[in-house]
Amino acid sequence: MSFRGFLLRDHFDTLLTALHKLGAHCVGPTVMDDSIHYTTLTSSTQLPQQVHDHQGPGHYRLSTSTESRWFAWANGAQALKPLVFVPQEILWRSERDSEGNLQFSNSKQEPPLTAVIGVRACDLAALALQDQHFLDGLEQDSAYARRRQQLILIAVNCTHPSANCFCHSSGDGPEVKQDYDLLLDELDDGFAVRSASPMGEKICQQLQLEALTNSQQDEIKHANLRAIEQQTKHLPEGNLEQALKNLQGSGRWQQIAERCLSCGNCTAVCPSCFCHSQHDEPAANSMSSAHIRQWDSCFSHGHSYIHGMVIHNETRFRYRQWLTHKFSGWFEQYGRSGCVGCGRCITWCPVGIDVTEELHALAEEYDNV
């Protein structure tokens, strides 16, 4: 998409105003609990000011700088996932009358129009994966579909990948190429704006945009190239799908299990992980009950429970399930790997297990067999 113009930093709030006028609830990055969180945004003053993030295996810290930019960081623990596939929600309710008759109903409530500001290329790639899973399968997930329809995606190209990022290697970033409404490139004094949808156009019409200079366009190109160069992690070359199928008996799974706590942090922060469990919460008067789904993890004990036994009864089987699904099974299910290179599973792993390192070790083992 070509540039629509340049939005001065001082005019950024006109974007929020335009979105509010459309009836959208704005969500964007803010600093909370020493990390970047997506929360309700009413003013640009809430955006991270003079903040960088520093990530490493099991490590996330923010530091202050003299940085004038608001998006000079890679990411926080959240992606778009909690906004569409929410951590917990009621799927349906049942009511029981005094004669024992049951009635079932599901919520058809329309979620609010939600504009997300600061979406990264990895987040968009993960959203496309979740769309495939929740919308394009045998049956649509109606709760997901309702929220997804209400999203306005305002992406900001990532210029500060973290030490855990490998989106260039996974083929998902750092440059946003598609599936957005608006795309912003942040420069010192403002944002270059591109639009890729009728909604994006509608918003652009509300903005005071200046002409974009050639030198600004060059700067954007360079920033993207620099963001690629900054990425030090990468996925192994070769056919991981086949390698992992062949390595189910590898001793590496046990070596990983000696470090892995089976806590499920990696699956919670993973923007593509979709597992969820369902349970009932009956009301105290036992006349109604809510059937609830909540995020689950293939690292939980109950995930593979079946009539009295747990199939993945050891950590090595759980990690094997997670990694094999993400980097092998996903190809057959959805035509590509389930990893978008955001690096969150490395950052938020309490013992710093690095998925790229494990994949390199496994790929090497496969090459040597």
Binding site: W92, F104, H276, Q278, S304, Y305
Partner: protein, 277 residues
């Protein structure tokens, strides 16, 4: 389309105690229109919902052409089945389904059929036997091998004895551990395969039960020149949504709830030998 993501109210019309821990529930939708709309294939399953407790996946054992009730044979083993066990005729529950890919029975007409099952009241295999017994002339020879851990675990002993008397039908029973007076084989189901009086290389084999039993049987059948595409098995994993969304039933790249539960051996032979997948 029939909503399969929200339960519909059903009434227990019949309850049969099959053994100490196994019982069957015959169910009808309260809304008669749903009874007319509802269609299933043998080998498919429903999610049964107990008010305030939760859902559990249960195979359908009744005949697809019988519309007066949908029968589920259930073993009491967990939180939901312990409550299902207490339901009486007239009680209400929720039902949604049917789910999954059933047995390919429609494409097996005039073929010889081998059914191998292990374990207690293996419901998916009962649906095959019931289906074929009702349409006996449409199929060739039929052999049933049923294995149980302990001879006391065998349910439907009378039914097996009746089937033993039928023409073109062979029933072989085995118990790993047998109490006094067990007239049949003591040992594994695989040890009964040489006694089959049908040509396994031509027959269609359908199996359900412990994975290692199905694997050992399939291997022996392949040695006897059966083709992997002619062996089917019903797989089991944790299921919560039943429509391929919740992720619990993944078995390699397959979602058992929608890609199965019935698979050809050719589809799963890469994974079946490995435990904890």
């Amino acid at each position: 389309m029939f909503d399969r993501q929200t339960p519909h109210e059903a009434i227990v019309v019949r309850r049969t105690q099959e053994s100490d821990t196994i019982f069957s529930l015959g169910l009808r939708f309260s809304d008669d229109e749903l009874n007319q709309q509802y269609r299933f294939q043998p080998g498919q399953f429903n999610m049964l919902y107990v008010f305030g407790i939760g859902e559990v996946p249960i195979s359908i054992v009744s005949d697809p052409q019988s519309t007066d009730e949908v029968i589920h044979t259930i073993r009491t083993v967990g939180r939901v089945t312990r409550v299902l066990e207490k339901l009486k005729p007239g009680d209400r529950l929720g039902i949604r389904g049917p789910f999954g890919r059933g047995w390919p029975l429609a494409s097996l007409q005039h073929r010889d059929i081998l059914v191998v099952t292990g374990g207690l009241g293996c419901a998916p295999s009962v649906s095959i036997i019931n289906y074929i017994m009702r349409r006996r002339q449409q199929f060739g020879r039929m052999a049933i091998i049923q294995g149980v851990k302990h001879s006391e675990d065998l349910i439907w002993r009378e039914r097996y004895k009746e089937w033993m008397q039928l023409d073109n039908t062979q029933v072989l029973l085995a118990a790993d551990v047998a109490s006094h007076g067990w007239p049949w084989h003591v040992g594994l189901v695989t040890e009964l395969l040489p006694q089959l009086d049908l040509d396994v290389s031509q027959a269609a084999t359908m199996m359900c039960g412990p994975e290692m039993m199905m694997l050992a049987t399939a291997k022996q059948l392949l040695e006897k020149r059966a083709s992997a595409q002619n062996i089917w098995l019903s797989m089991e994993r944790n299921m919560q949504c039943a429509v391929g969304l919740c992720g619990h039933c993944q078995y390699g790249p397959d979602f058992i709830c929608k890609d199965g539960p019935v698979f050809s051996y050719a589809d799963v032979q890469d994974r079946l030998p490995r435990r904890n997948i």
